[in-house]
Symmetry: C2
DNA sequence: TCATTCGCTCAACAGGCGTTGACTCAACGA
DNA sequence: TCGTTGAGTCAACGCCTGTTGAGCGAATGA
């Protein structure tokens, strides 16, 4: 199967990367429980036992495959926050990293993925809250985050017909006023009915 | 174990309901794949074989347990749509029917659940779109729906700390301007930067 | 050159899964 | 009263899962 002259260390790195790639794809497509070690190994062109040897456990394989690199950011204004969130949604709309998709796909059924999701979302909420000038900044930031989560789920994972093929710009344009309404401090009173 | 004097038909109905209840709870808590027939039967105080005898297949059990009764509605104004959506979120916040939770919990990993979710959400989008006075009404309705989906997922299933114990009224109050921004036709131009 | 390392495969294990068929026994209808 | 029905159980099936230990053969370093 492979490249006779390649040194061991390099071969090992390549194989590990092949496995991680296959794992990311499968975890993203079918979630943690339906993505079997055997299927991942097959997709990577490798024996299932090798996957275990390299990653020890399906759990650890998932953790490495679904690791999301946290985007550390400086201080932002409220308006910048909106644009930042909108930009993160699109990232060219469909080029969302597979690791993130894997985590999202699994977060409702796999406890470890849920914990990761909570942490990642929690960090984003913290970052956003710092830029929202309101006493209930954390709650507003949480809603902002869940809004984007919902749109991402509906679009990337559920693949709702209505969102298919819609450009990220158009979604951003429609969503912008809604997000701004959350980041701007409410002054006017409102009625319930 | 059971009520000697109860007639057969009644016993049968009660047992079926016990199984469905246990199924709803487990599907809602851990999703389709992790909710085993054995665990459901145990929770219902019944033999696993009986579950199969009554429902035929785990798939059919899920379909019956996660059946969501569509709320058919008359025509609404745009503002009524917002209130309707907000009200549906709360339904006393935490008393979301377990069937719906089961469907939501499973929709990212179980194809059948995904199909159901698409259908239910699609119907809601249709209903909402009819009340939104804009050319891109369907897209706006879809975003409205995914927004509420995200909030529900974050609150009910992911149980984000920031949303825990927050009253539905407060969430509705914060979300209202955002939703109205989506239902009201945009007139003002907007800048991207 | 030769012993050693190590990437990788093979065959198997134990356990859990959905599902089935034979069975028990109380409720039923005549 | 007695045969029939049907609710419910029991033990087992075949399959698939994550995981393991023994082994093969090429790259490695002395």
């Amino acid at each position: 199967m492979g490249e006779r002259g390649v040194p061991r260390a390099e071969r090992r790195r390549r194989t590990e990367e092949k496995i991680l790639g296959a794992a990311r794809t499968l975890f993203a497509e079918v979630g943690f429980e339906r993505a079997t070690i055997r299927a991942i190994a097959r997709a990577a062109g490798v024996d299932p036992a090798l996957v275990m040897q390299y990653f020890g456990t399906k759990q650890e394989l998932f953790q490495q495959a679904a690791r999301v690199t946290p985007v550390a950011d400086g201080e932002l204004t409220a308006e910048e926050v909106v644009e930042h969130v909108l930009a993160s949604l699109s990232v060219k709309m469909g080029e969302v990293p597979q690791g993130s998709l894997a985590m999202m796909r699994s977060m409702l059924t796999h406890p470890e993925a849920a914990a990761s999701a909570r942490q990642v979302l929690g960090e984003q909420i913290d970052r956003l809250a710092a830029a929202i000038p309101a006493e209930d900044a954390r709650l507003r930031a949480a809603l902002l985050t869940t809004i984007m989560l919902g749109v991402a789920v509906g679009h990337q994972l559920l693949e709702l017909d209505e969102l298919r093929g819609v450009s990220s710009d158009e979604i951003a344009r429609l969503l912008r006023p809604s997000l701004r309404a959350l980041t701007a401090e409410q002054v006017a009173g409102d009625r319930t009915g």
